[in-house]
C-alpha cells in the first residue's frame, strides 16, 4: 500500500506540464493544413500540451499508483463480481489477427472472429438455458434496454401494446427501472417480503393484462435465492407477461440452475463480471442478451449465422467445416444497439475463460463463490448484524444500524476505515431496503487466508468503533486524499481544466 500513501504528491494535470514542441514525434511532420483546405474550415489553435514520452509515462504510472484495483488487494464490492482477471485472456485478445481486424472486413476474411462470436453465443445459450444470445449490447444496462425493446416490439406485433407496465422488485439494481423508463414503460416497484424475497401474493396483486415484463435478479441483491421463482414465472406468464433475468449475479448459478429452466424469457449476462473481463475502471463492459425461442427473431442485428448450422466440434481444428456470416437481414429485429457488431475483444476474453474452465470448472466457480460468501457471512455475523441470517448465494448484506445507534459509526465510516487497511470497501447503502447496508461479494478467486484477514480487519474496525468512534469516523487517514467535499463538487462543478489568465 505504500504507493497509495499520503506522502506522495499528486502529479500535476497533464495540461500544466510540458512545453510547445516537446512532444515525442511518432509520425513525420505534415505539410501545413492550409495547403489542403480553405482557412475558414481550419481551427485557429489547438490548445493541447506537448509532453515528452518519458514525462507522459511518469504521469500515468504515478496515476496508476493512486488507483486501487483487484491486482492490489481484496475487492469485495457487492453485485460487481470483482474476481481475478486472468492475463492470458488479454494476451489472446491482443493477438494481431483479432486486434487489427476492421469491422467492415468481408465475412470470408473474418472467419476466426465470427467463429469466436458464434461459439460464445452457443455456449452461453447452453449454460443459461436460452435459445440464443446476441453479443451486440455493450454492457448490462445496454442489454436491459435491448431486452425491453425486444419485449415492446414483440407485444406490438401481437397487438398487445396496452402492456405498459414493468414490475421491478425494490431490491433491483437502479438500471432496471431506468432502462424501463427509457423504453416508455411505467415502473411498478414491488416490496420484498420479510424473507427478503419477492412474494407471490404481492406480485399477483399487480399483475394484469397491462403487465409487460417482470425484471428479476436471482439470486437477488441481498444474495438470497428467490426460491419461489417457478411460481412467480408461472403467474407472470399466466397474464401474458415476460420474465427478464438480470444476470448481474450470474456468478452464483453456473452449472447449478439456469434462467431458462426457471422460466425466464429474456436475460442479460455481464461477462465483465462472471467471465473475468477486466472492469477497467468502469468499462468497457460486455452485455450478451439471451432470449427464449419465441423472441429470437427480435434480437439486435447483426446475428452470426453458421453454414451449415450446428455446433463447432471442439475436438477438431477450430470450427472445421463451418462457414460464418453476419446476418443483417432480420425483419423483426429491434435493429442495432451500437455502432458495430460487439465489444469483440471482450468476446475473445470470455471465450478464453470458458475454455479454461469447461462445464465442470464453471460449476465449481459458482460453488466456491457461494462457499466464500457464506464463510465471510458467518465470520462477519459475529460482530455485525446480518439481517437475513440464512444460507446466501454469492453475496450477502450486513447492516451497521445497531453499531450506529451504539457508537455513531456508520456503514460509510466502516467502508473508509477498510481503505486505510488496504482493502476495497464493500458496496454501501445498497440495496436501499437495508439501513446502513454493507453488501459483500468475495468471489471464488479469493483464498481462505484473504477472507480471514478481511474478517479480522472488519472485526478490529467494529471494536475500535466501540472504543474510539471518532477515529473510525476520521478514516481514511492513510490514503492519498481524505474524505472529499461532495457538496462542493456538486454545487460548484469543476469538470474540466481551463487555461488560467
Amino acid at each position: 500500500m505504500s504507493q497509495l500513501s499520503a506522502d506522495r504528491p499528486a502529479p500535476a494535470l497533464i495540461f500544466e506540464t510540458g512545453a510547445p514542441g516537446r512532444a515525442t514525434e511518432y509520425v513525420e511532420r505534415s505539410r501545413p493544413h492550409g495547403e489542403f483546405l480553405p482557412p475558414e474550415l481550419l481551427r485557429s489553435d489547438l490548445p493541447l500540451p506537448d509532453n515528452s514520452e518519458l514525462d507522459v509515462v511518469r504521469h500515468f504510472t504515478q496515476l496508476s499508483h493512486r488507483t486501487f484495483g483487484i491486482d492490489l488487494g481484496f475487492y469485495p464490492l457487492g453485485s460487481c463480481t470483482m474476481k481475478y482477471n486472468p492475463r492470458v485472456n488479454d494476451a489472446i485478445a491482443n493477438l494481431p489477427g483479432f486486434r487489427d481486424l476492421h469491422p467492415y472486413a468481408p465475412d470470408e476474411l473474418a472467419q476466426g472472429s465470427l467463429a469466436v462470436m458464434y461459439e460464445l453465443e452457443r455456449s452461453l445459450s447452453s449454460i443459461f438455458g436460452m435459445a440464443a444470445f446476441s453479443l451486440n449490447p455493450s454492457a448490462g444496462a445496454h442489454a436491459e434496454l435491448a431486452a425491453l425493446l425486444v419485449a415492446k416490439k414483440y407485444f406490438k406485433d401481437r397487438g398487445e401494446s396496452k402492456r405498459t407496465k414493468v414490475i421491478v422488485p425494490d431490491t433491483a439494481h437502479g438500471t432496471n427501472p431506468a432502462s424501463a423508463a427509457m423504453c416508455g414503460f411505467k415502473v411498478i416497484s414491488l416490496p420484498s417480503d420479510a424473507r427478503g424475497r419477492v412474494s407471490v401474493e404481492e406480485i399477483e396483486k399487480v399483475l394484469g393484462d397491462d403487465t409487460a415484463v417482470c425484471m428479476m435478479t436471482n439470486p437477488n441483491t441481498l444474495g438470497l435465492f428467490e426460491d419461489r421463482i417457478a411460481e412467480i414465472a408461472a403467474a407472470v406468464h399466466r397474464v401474458g407477461g415476460l420474465m427478464y433475468y438480470d444476470g448481474a449475479n450470474a456468478n452464483a448459478i453456473m452449472g447449478n440452475v439456469r434462467p431458462g429452466d426457471m422460466g425466464f424469457d429474456l436475460m442479460h449476462l455481464n461477462t465483465h463480471k462472471t467471465f473475468t473481463i477486466p472492469h477497467g475502471g468502469g468499462g468497457a463492459g460486455h452485455g450478451p442478451l439471451g432470449v427464449a425461442a419465441h423472441l429470437v427473431d427480435y434480437l439486435p442485428t447483426p446475428v452470426v449465422r453458421a453454414i451449415p448450422d450446428g455446433k463447432p466440434d471442439v475436438r477438431r481444428a477450430p470450427s472445421d467445416g463451418m462457414r460464418f456470416e453476419l446476418d443483417f437481414d432480420r425483419p423483426k429485429s429491434i435493429g442495432p444497439m451500437r455502432s458495430f457488431w460487439s465489444n469483440f475483444a471482450h468476446a475473445v476474453r470470455a471465450l478464453s475463460y470458458l475454455y479454461a474452465n469447461g462445464a465442470e470448472g464453471l460449476t465449481s466457480v459458482s460453488q466456491l463463490a457461494v462457499l466464500n460468501a457464506n464463510y465471510l457471512r458467518v465470520g462477519v455475523s459475529e460482530f455485525l448484524t446480518t439481517p437475513y441470517p440464512e444460507i446466501c448465494r454469492h453475496e450477502f448484506v450486513a447492516s451497521a444500524q445497531e453499531l450506529k445507534k451504539e457508537t455513531g459509526v456508520r456503514a460509510l465510516d466502516i467502508a473508509k476505515a477498510l481503505l486505510d487497511r488496504g482493502f476495497m470497501a464493500p458496496t454501501v447503502y445498497f440495496p436501499l431496503i437495508v439501513p446502513e447496508c454493507l453488501m459483500m461479494e468475495p468471489t471464488e478467486t479469493e483464498s481462505k487466508e484473504t477472507l480471514d484477514l478481511f474478517i479480522e480487519a472488519l472485526r478490529e474496525i467494529v471494536e475500535t468503533a466501540k472504543r474510539d468512534p471518532q477515529s473510525v469516523m476520521a478514516a481514511p487517514v492513510k490514503t492519498v486524499v481524505g474524505r472529499i467535499d461532495e457538496t462542493r463538487a456538486a454545487r460548484q462543478p469543476d469538470l474540466r481544466w481551463r487555461q488560467s489568465g
Binding site: Y26, H33, L41, L42, R43, L46, Q62, L63, S64, R66, T67, F68, G69, L72, M82, G97, P106, L109, Q111, A139, G140, A141, G174, T175, M182, C183, V257, G263, N270, P278, H279, G282, V314, P318, S319, M337, S339, F340, W341, A345, V348, S352, Y353, A359, L371, V378, L419, M424, A425, T427, P476, V480, V481, G482, R483, I484, A489, P493, R496, W497
Partner: protein
Amino acid sequence: MGAYTPHTPQEISQMLERIGVGSLEELLAVSPEIAPKAPLDVVPALPEYQIERRMKALAARNRADEYASFLGAGAYRHYAPPAIAALAMRGEFLTAYTPYQAEVSQGYLQAIYEWQSYICLLTGMEIANASVYDGATALAEGSIMAINATGRARLLVSRAVDPRYRAVLHTYCGGLDIEIDEIAVGADGRTDGDSAIAAIEAKKYAAVIVQSPNFFGVIDEIDARIRAAIETSGTVPIAVISEAISLGALRPPAEWGAQIVVGEAQSFGVALAYGGPYVGFIASTAEHMRRIPGRLVGRSVDNRGGEAYTLTLQAREQHIRREKASSNICTNQAHCALIATIYLALVGASGLRDVAGLNLERSRELATAVTSVPGVSLRFEAPFFNEIVVRVGNAAEVLAGLQQRGVLAGVDLGRFYPEYADSILMAATELTTTGEIAKLTAALREVVHVAALR
C-alpha cells in the same frame, strides 16, 4: 475445479464445517423442478497452452491483414504508440471498478478529468462526460438530452450522418415514440441546406443532427443560413464526429454552432478489434450540464485541505434516481477513454496536428491516384478530410475484383444508399503507404477495364 480458484480440498471442508453445511451441493440446493435436466454443452476445460494454440488458430482464420486496406466508414486504422498499451494495461487501471471510493481512485479520477478536459478543448464545448459506449450510442443519448431540453418528440437528421448511427438512433427511439425525419444530401456531398431549412420551418424539432466530416468524408458544418433557422425555431444543433483525428485540423464544432457534440474517439489509440470496445463521448454547452448522461468527474477539496477528484452530480444517475434518471447507463468505456487520454498526452498538439495533416495529404494522394483511372471519378466536390466517395460503376462487382487482387478498397455505399450503388467509400490515414495506393490503382485499372468491356 475452476481454473482460477485457490481452494484446497481441506480448506473446502473446513469452510463448509464453519458454515454448518455438509457439502457444496447442499449449499446450492434448488428444487428439482428448476434443476438443469442435462449437463452443460460446452468445450471441456483446456490447459492454458492449448487455449492459446486454439485461439491462435482462430486468429489466423482472419485473413484481412494480407490485403492493402482502405476501409474506414467510422472505424480507422491509425498509429498507436506502444507506450499506450504499456501504461493502460497496468493492473491498477485494468482491474479497478468504477471509482466509487474516491480516496483510493484518485489516479483514475484524475485521468478521466483529463479526458473530459481534452474533449472540451477539442470540441470547444464547456463540459464533457466520462464516456459512453460508442459514437452511435453517444448520438442516441445526446438526442435524448435535446428531447428532454425542448420537450419535443421529433428529430431531424442529415442522411449524411453514418447510417449505422442513424439505425441505432431508430432503435433507441423505438422505445420512446420519437419521430425521425431526414435531410437530403446535396449534389456536393454536404447536407442540403434548402431541405434542412424547409424542414426546420415546417415542424418543431428537438434537434438537428449533422456529422462533420460526414459519412462521405465531406466537411459538413452547419452553415450560417441553417444556423439562423435553428436559432429561430429553438432547436438544439447536434454535431457528430466519427473521425476524431479530424479535430486536429478542423475548427471545433462550437465555432459552427453546435450545442451538443457527440462522437467516437476510437481513432485516439483504440484498437479496431472487429468493432469494439470503442469509446463514445458527449460534450455540450453548460446549459445542458444536468441533462448529460453517465458519469462526470469533478475536482473538489478533501478534509485535509488538498485538491481531490470525485464522481459528481450523481443525482442525474440511475443508481440514485432509478426510473427518473437522465439515462440507464452504468458501465461506460473508462478504459478506452484512458487509452485515448494517453494517446492525446503522448502525441500532444504537435503530433495531433501532424497526424491530421498526414491524413489530409494521403487522402489527396489517394484521390489523385484513383481518379487517374479511366472511368473512375470522385462523386462529390466539397472539401473532404480523409475519406472519399469514388464512383466506379458497379461498386459490389468492382470491390470483389479488387479483393481478388489483394485490395480491400472500402465500403460499398450501395449497402446503405441504393442511389450510390456505383460508389465506394475509401479512407486513407497516416498509415496508408504510396505502395498500397499504387496497388489499388493498378488493380482498379484492371477491374474497371474488365467491367467496361462486359
